[in-house]
Amino acid sequence: MDRLVLLHRHRLVVERHAVTTYPEECCGVLMGRPLGDGGGTLVERLRPVDNERQESRGNRYLMHPETVLAAEKEARKLGLDVVGYYHSHPDHPSRPSEFDREHAWPGISYLIVSVQGGEVADARSWRLRDDRESFEEEQIVDQVPAPAGHRAAAARTQARTVAKSKEERQP
């Protein structure tokens, strides 16, 4: 199973976007990079965008190609790739629809947030199979940063390890 590694604060931004646009769909761009060695994909930057559909916004969303192009350029400037997109399903499960499948490409993540009655029900992420027949679910890894005290301790440990390693290399 593929993995989408999402910082907890990014997950909160997506969920807030989905709630504030309810009962209409929201959408946005996930920028990041592959982690390699089967580690999945790390999302490093989010770009919420307006739903550019003019009608049926309760069950449809659209990003014009010019918007996608601008997001791709922004990602490249940051040394990242567009690794996926998110959207919401108001009062509908977080499972991709047939309409989603017809408009998807393999190789990227489609994160879907289900909003029921104005509150987030759940979020699931999907990747289209190469044969376009169906989506496969990927695991969402909700990455919560370590508390500041732990980060400082980890940095001190790392500094000690580097210093020791330098000492060991001395003739």
């Binding site: 769909e25 959408c27 559909r53 009608e55 049926s56 309760g58 069950n59 449809r60 969303y61 659209l62 990003m63 014009h64 190609p65 010019e66 996608v68 192009l69 791709e72 790739d81 567009v82 690794v83 997109y85 959207h87 399903h89 108001p90 009062d91 509908h92 991709p96 629809s97 047939e98 309409f99 989603d100 408009h103 998807a104 490409w105 393999p106 190789g107 990227i108 489609y110 190469d130 044969d131 376009r132």
Partner: protein
Amino acid sequence: MSVTVQIPTPLRRFTGDSGEVVVEGDTVDAALADLMRRHPKLQPHLLGDDGKVRSFVNVFVNDDNIRYAEGGATRVASGDTVSIIPSIAGGAGGEDRA
């Protein structure tokens, strides 16, 4: 007529990880046909069952969307860059709502 086609990141797995492919053709349709001859696995993701470019797949010649030019008949010149850019669309199931 050699033009460079920029391959979007998710589709590079079908071009041997190449981000750019040089193809021959004097129109967008001809350039895309040559691209799919060279990399046949791209075809189902660019064309629908009817053989037409999928509705969410957009083609730009340099910075211009061919939808506002002559579509697939838009002419390309040597050195032009053709970019394949998706519209991102989808949503919960069911028919369009009023």
